[in-house]
């Protein structure tokens, strides 16, 4: 597949892949790209679709789901699921805006206000993740239930803290870094943070013991435990990491939306799970790669972008994404069973 394919885990060796076929996500990506190139080519406007400007838009819009996707990837590999990410992103934007506004009113436009607000925002994300992890391990709740609960709590807290409205910056108090993060450009620091985080997570998964443990826990939890893997500790770490990544995505969202808005990130969790699964991760755990997850986000972004530029009714994007998800997973099944 790629240089980032998962190493054989201590617990159960990953099933060898049929090397005669190109990997699923790449095929999906190429297919979607070819499809829209063809369709938009027929209609005219290909120059727009394949322009540098549009590439910048695609990458810009993909940054947030990709960062959340990295966290979701860790959780899915470990055999869990995290339904709370969308709500946590909203909570982070609200908390960040609250903290920033309070500090701004006391200290004025100083860098410390921004730094503390961002720090608190990311920490809130991490805390939610930690809570998820503890609920899954200490209370032995199924991840679906634990994170569904967190989903409600975070969304409710966000609405409450925002007093049911959208929080905007005080007049003239928008810090420069927010404008920089919101600008559609290859020089966007949010994009580069994504590149860095993707490399770090790939390194974590493939070069460290923790990474091997995550794959092991997801492949076969009982075997992993027998082999001496500290399963609860691994899981708590996974959810916390995912929470921190979601927290950082919340900061990027805060900048993109120029607000603290408790309604942000609705259905983000489903988008991200779809993307990561299209990218080859399995809800059964033990499978998935960073490249796949990022490609999955790119495929979804491409569909949304193509549908939008093609002036197709918006409904079409949901149908296309659904079809693609089913086709992709069915294909993976079929290839595995054929062996």
């Amino acid at each position: 597949m790629t240089s980032l394919s998962p190493p054989d885990t201590t617990a159960s060796p990953a099933a060898p892949r049929p090397s005669s076929l190109p990997a699923g996500p790449w095929v999906g990506f190429a297919a979607v790209l070819a499809l829209f190139t063809l369709l938009i080519g027929i209609r005219g406007g290909l120059a727009t679709f394949l322009s540098v400007g549009n590439l910048e838009v695609l990458i810009h819009e993909g940054t947030i789901p990709a960062i959340v996707g990295l966290g979701m990837l860790l959780v899915l590999i470990s055999g869990g699921i995290d339904l709370s990410v969308g709500a946590v992103v909203a909570l982070v934007t609200v908390v960040t805006m609250r903290v920033y506004t309070t500090l701004y009113q006391q200290w004025g436009p100083v860098a410390q206000s921004s730094l503390i607000a961002v720090g608190v925002g990311v920490a809130v994300g991490g805390l939610c993740g930690l809570m998820n992890g503890l609920l899954v391990t200490r209370v032995s709740l199924p991840p679906f239930v634990a994170t569904l609960g967190m989903f409600g709590i975070a969304r409710g807290l966000a609405v409450w803290l925002a007093e049911r409205t959208t929080l905007a910056f005080p007049d003239g108090a928008t810090p420069g870094w927010v404008a920089a993060l919101a600008k559609t450009s290859f020089a966007n620091p949010g994009l580069w943070s994504l590149v860095l985080l993707a490399l770090l997570i790939a390194g974590l998964l493939h070069l460290t013991v923790l990474g091997r443990h995550i794959y092991a826990v997801g492949s076969n939890e009982a075997t992993a435990r027998l082999c001496g893997v500290n399963v609860p500790r691994t899981k708590v770490l996974v959810y916390t990491l995912s929470g921190l990544l979601t927290g950082w995505a919340g900061i990027v969202m805060f900048a993109h939306s120029n607000s603290g808005n408790p309604t942000l990130g609705e259905q983000l969790e489903l988008d991200v799970i779809t993307a990561v699964v299209i990218g080859g991760a399995s809800l059964g755990g033990g499978k998935g790669t960073v490249v796949g997850a990022v490609l999955g986000v790119a495929i979804l972004g491409l569909i949304k972008n193509g549908v939008s530029l093609f002036n197709v009714p918006v409904e079409m994007q949901y149908i296309l994404i659904g079809v693609l998800l089913l086709a992709n997973v069915a294909l993976n099944r079929w290839r595995r069973d054929r062996r």
Partner: protein, 355 residues
């Protein structure tokens, strides 16, 4: 896999029909607050009609793209759409901002990229980066509502009416203007009026309006004479509650905006009147201003005339079926209207450009 690609292709083939026509001079993107509400469809028809008129009268080809968030009140998606359209070659943008403050940054980015933005429907907090604000004068609409309600109450001999102002939502600029206009109008016309309640909020939907209106009506049902509800959902929700308690026609309700149920309630006399906006004209005039700006004209007199009002119309039982009323929302009647177009001088260098 090739088979999957094939199926996907087949699935999309119906959309590949209409081939690209001749290249357009200007592409104007209309970004409403949501896609579903009838209000925005009228805006869209107005914009398309303006494009047709421009092509017929002056040979200026304008392509109108209607692109908004699927869900009403999705500010993030609006920001995405603006950035996306600006990056992919829009000549101008008409934006109905979801939020007066959070949408400022993307308007600034569009202006920096040389794409003029005309704000429609609701205000934007930052006045420096758009070229025109085309909207209903909501404050004036609120005053009209006050005039009519007070007049009707006085007809019934109620010189000291007891009123309820049933507000819409915190932070919604347009409805707050209506509420303020109504309050000021009442204070001026009938200073002896008594306010029973001015601090209840209907919320976004008819359901939420009913939930809030229920206890309010129960509390004041023996005292209240007149109620103002500043938008469609709050008015219909209030009327639903009054009907269920048998108080319709006894308590006079003044609404704002229109929908089928609301117009029906006016015909039946459950609502004494409503102030209607003219979204068709809004779409028409905003497109007109945007294109005139692109043609190098000074649409705001060197940034001194930023606002253009599209008019507010009092609709009562008497005129609810008149052609002029139907022309506000009915597509057939809209198509027959002739919209008067403002004329602008050529832009002088250093004057009227976006900053």
């Amino acid at each position: 896999m090739p088979r999957t690609v094939y199926y996907l292709l087949v699935a999309l083939c119906p959309f590949a029909g209409g081939c690209g026509g001749p290249s357009d001079e200007f592409t104007i993107v209309v970004v409403p607050k949501g896609m579903t509400h009838e209000h925005w469809q009228s805006v869209r028809r107005g914009a398309e009609r303006c494009a047709a008129d421009l092509a017929a009268e002056e040979g200026v080809r304008v392509r109108v793209i209607f692109d908004g968030p699927l869900r009403e009140r999705d500010a993030m998606e609006q920001i995405r759409i603006i950035d996306r359209r600006v990056a992919t070659g829009a000549s101008g943008v008409l934006l109905a901002p979801q939020h007066s403050k959070t949408m400022t940054a993307c308007v600034e980015r569009a202006a920096a990229a040389g794409v003029p933005v005309v704000i429609i429907d609701s205000g934007l907090a930052d006045p420096y980066h758009y070229v025109k604000y085309v909207a209903t004068d909501n404050y004036h609409g609120g005053r009209l509502a006050a005039e009519h309600l007070i007049r009707e109450l006085k007809k019934q001999g109620k010189e000291k009416p007891r009123l309820i102002l049933f507000r819409y939502a915190v932070g919604s600029e347009s409805t707050e203007q209506r509420e303020k206009g109504f309050e000021d109008g009442v204070k001026q016309l009938c200073p002896e009026a008594e306010w029973l309640s001015t601090d209840k909020y209907a919320g976004a939907t008819r359901d939420s309006a009913m939930r809030e209106a229920g206890p309010l009506v129960l509390q004041f049902k023996d005292q209240v004479d007149g109620i103002f509800a500043p938008n469609e959902s709050s008015a219909t929700g209030m009327v639903d509650v009054l009907r269920s308690q048998g108080l319709n026609k006894k308590v006079l309700v003044m609404g704002f905006d229109a929908s089928k149920p609301l117009l029906q309630a006016i015909q039946e006399g459950d609502i004494v009147g409503s102030i209607l906006q003219d979204p068709y004209r809004m779409g028409y005039l905003s497109t007109w201003c945007c294109v005139r700006y692109l043609l190098g004209e000074d649409v705001n007199e060197g940034r001194t005339q930023m606002e253009l009002s599209t008019g507010e119309v009092l609709v009562t039982r008497e005129n609810v079926t008149a052609d002029s009323t139907l022309g506000l929302f009915n597509p057939d009647y809209q198509g027959r209207r002739v919209i008067e177009k403002p004329r602008f001088p050529k832009r002088v260098a250093g004057r009227g450009g976006e900053r």
